[in-house]
Structures are given as C-alpha cells and as structure tokens.
C-alpha cells in the first residue's frame, strides 16, 4: 500500500495542483488504472475539493484541506478532509429530469451526482469539525 498526502490552502486556485498530484501519484503507483478511469477520479476529487473549499469559506475556517491518496492492490481511494461546515448528502436537492424545462433553473447541485456516477464507492462522513469524503475506484486485476 502507498499513501500520498497533500495539504492545500482552501482556495480554488489550488484545484489544478490537486489534479496534477492525483494524476502523478495514481498514474505512477497504480499503473493498471486506465486513463479514462483516472480522469473520472480527478473530476470526482475536484468536486469534493470544491465543496470542501466552499465549506471553509462559509465559516471562514482556517487550516488546510487534506487530500490523501491511498493506493492498494485492488483499489485507489482518495480522502478529502475539510474543517468547514458539515452537510447531509441525503438532503441535497434532487434535480428535475433533463427533459423537464425546470431543469434549466438549476445551475448547481451536479457535483454529488457526478461523484456518485464517476466512482465505484463514495462515502460522506460528517465529523465533529468538518467532513471527510472518501472516493474509491477499483483497479483491474494485474
């Protein structure tokens, strides 16, 4: 098992750096993962980090957002830990169907559905001082 951990200031300008690190760490340490699957993971990580940064901004929280990549034989997991205002993912608004004209009233709310679709496992863990989001994609057998 290999672990790569990154701490970033809670600012959007650092999202690109997170993608670079995840790409380099997972790309080199989990060679069996396809480029498409790594792209999926980077989108999901960006969504989780964006939410973490927004949560920090909402309460002017100090401290970094932690991004931890854990590469194991059969899966890659990225944990995103923030110290912002927690949230209940089950209370996120369900968007109208795409064919419903009301769908275009919604410019946000796509992040969590994307995380759920693009990864094999997503876990939201509210904590006393923030939230931990765990994103996992499975690696094909060698």
């Amino acid at each position: 098992m290999a672990v790569v951990e990154l701490e970033i200031p809670a600012r959007p300008a650092y999202l690109s750096l997170v993608r670079l690190i995840v790409d380099a760490a997972v790309g080199s340490l989990a060679p069996g993962l396809s480029v498409a699957r790594l792209d999926d993971l980077k989108i999901a990580v960006t969504e989780a980090c964006s939410n973490a940064i927004e949560a920090h901004e909402a309460i002017c929280a100090d401290g970094p957002v932690v991004v931890r990549c854990t590469i194991e034989d059969h899966q890659v997991t990225v944990d995103i830990v923030d110290r912002g205002r927690g949230f209940d993912p089950e209370r996120v608004e369900v968007l109208p169907a795409a064919t419903d004209p009301r769908r275009l009233r919604h410019e946000s709310g796509l992040g969590i559905p994307l995380m759920r679709t693009l990864t094999d496992e997503v876990t939201f863990m509210p904590q006393a001082d923030g939230t931990r989001v765990s994103l996992t994609v499975y690696r094909p057998p060698p």
Binding site: L15, A36, D39, K42, T46, T99, L110
Partner: protein, 116 residues
C-alpha cells in the same frame, strides 16, 4: 499561482453566430471568468453563441453550471447557446447529467452554426 493562466478564449463570428473557443481547464477557479465573458457577449447583443470546448482539458460541475447559466441568459434574450465537443471525457459529462438533452452538443463548429 494564477487561475487565469489555466483558461484562454478566442472569439470569432461565423454565419451569424459568435463562436467562443475555450482552451484550458474549466473549474470553480476559472468558470467565473468564462461566465463573465459570455455574459458580456450577450449584453453586447451577441445572443447566438457557440461554445467550442474542443480545447478544454478539464470540465467539472461548476463549468456545467456556468454553461446552463449562459444558455438561459442567451435564450432569455432571444438567442441560443450550442456546444461543440469531441472529447469523450467531456461529452460524457453532458450525458451523465442529462444536459445533452437540454442543449445542443455538436461535433464541429461548422455543424453548430449550420441552420438557424
């Protein structure tokens, strides 16, 4: 670290449409700049927009939300917004979110500006 370095746009008018080609990464750091650019065009009366994402390396939900916002603004002013995209990793996001049914996604700029 400058967010502006991650995004560049080029604008050209073709057959009555204003084609905005985007290069770089569209996320929460850069989407506001792109939204401002598209809002400015609509405010100038250029309401028939084509957003060419062929040069986009990365797009997330904030970028998708920005596109929905621009689409609504263009339609509110009697225009439209069409998307040009060939990269599977980008078109897939429109399909996953169902936005491919809410707006027009075309493979080329020529196809996007064809018709009224």
């Amino acid at each position: 670290m400058s967010a502006r370095m991650q995004l560049r746009t080029e604008t050209v008018d073709i057959a009555g449409w204003t084609v905005v080609s985007v290069f770089g990464e569209v996320d929460v750091a850069t989407a506001p700049d792109l939204k401002e650019r598209l809002t400015g065009l609509v405010n100038e009366g250029r309401v028939k927009l084509v957003l060419d994402l062929s040069g986009v390396d990365f797009l997330d939900s904030t970028g998708l939300g920005m596109i929905v916002s621009a689409l609504k603004r263009a339609r509110t002013h009697g225009g439209d917004l069409r998307i040009v995209c060939t990269e599977a990793r980008i078109t897939r996001l429109f399909e996953i979110t169902g936005l491919d049914k809410a707006l027009t996604v075309m493979p080329t700029v020529d196809a996007a500006v064809a018709g009224s």
